[in-house]
Amino acid sequence: MSNAFEGLKEGDDYSFVKKKFSRTDFVRYAGGGGDFNPIHHDQKFAEAAGLPTVFGMGMLTAGILSRVPVEWFGPTALKSYGIRFQSRLWPDDTVTFKGVVSKLYEEAGVIHADLDLSAVTQKDEVLIKGFSTVRPWLPSS
């Protein structure tokens, strides 16, 4: 069990940066996640839809953002995780993935933390806003 809950306060944060997304990052996620919508890998298809180039899958950004609660509290701590997509991820974007504790409380005697999550580009454009509730989870529970 992660002891990240010890001494945790509202307002505490955790973040990391992913530099310069590449088209290869998108293709790797197509293979890993199964999203073969050509708008994420086929330049001609993207142009025919009126876009300058391919853009990253929302679920790629969502998958990376899920690492915030995972790396902070451990992969079994998540009770919920939700995201709302706001704008598109383009090749060469550099993105900051961040979580902030918005609320700390007890439920049935177990500590819970609500997190506000975000993925924001170098241009201060919000790609995703998200939320997660985390609490310690033990194999016996």
Binding site: K18, R28, Y29, G31, G32, G33, G34, D35, F36, N37, I39, A48, A49, G50, L51, M57, G58, M59, L60, A62, G63, I64, S66, R67, P69, V70, E71, G74, P75, T76, L78, K79, S80, Y81, G82, I83, R84, F85, S87, R88, W137, L138, P139
Partner: protein, 148 residues
């Protein structure tokens, strides 16, 4: 594009490893069976958004699903996704996805004209019939390309 689908969604170590790499996750409990056992877990843990790999196992590929909902693939956006975990999902589990309801609505957008919204619910049960995960998937269709 024909494919043969096994019953359910088998949760596999190799696929978890590949998926975790595709989101740059170095968490040992996604990759290392020994580390998972040492932590008292039955096997490696599936990452929070891992069930998106269900696309590999769904009966219909995405373009067909879009057609059935009357969506134009060029203008479909993924609006959001919510996961509610009853317990972690481990390699060795087999999940059965039970489609719940789809709620359609329309919203007047600021930039792309009117927008159709589809909230699609799925419940995932494990091999013992226990509910392990509830997912809400939101798809949006704009009237045209949204310029940004």
């Amino acid at each position: 594009m024909a494919h043969i689908n096994p019953p359910g969604l088998p949760i596999e170590r190799g696929k978890i490893h590949e998926f975790a790499n595709s989101i740059g996750a170095e968490e040992p409990l996604f990759h290392d069976e020994e580390a998972a056992k040492a932590a008292g877990l039955p096997s490696v843990v599936a990452p929070p958004t891992y069930t998106s790999t269900q696309a590999f196992f769904s009966e219909k590929d995405a373009p067909n699903m879009f057609k059935e909902l009357g969506l134009d693939l060029r203008y479909v956006l993924h609006g959001g996704q919510e996961y509610y975990y009853e317990r972690p999902i481990f390699a060795g589990d087999t999940l059965i996805a039970e489609p719940g309801e789809t709620i359609a609505s329309t919203k007047e957008g600021k930039r792309g004209g009117s927008m159709k919204i589809f909230d699609m619910y799925t419940n995932y049960k494990n091999q013992d019939g226990e509910l392990v995960l509830r997912v809400k998937n939101t798809l949006l269709q704009t009237a045209g390309v949204v310029k940004e």
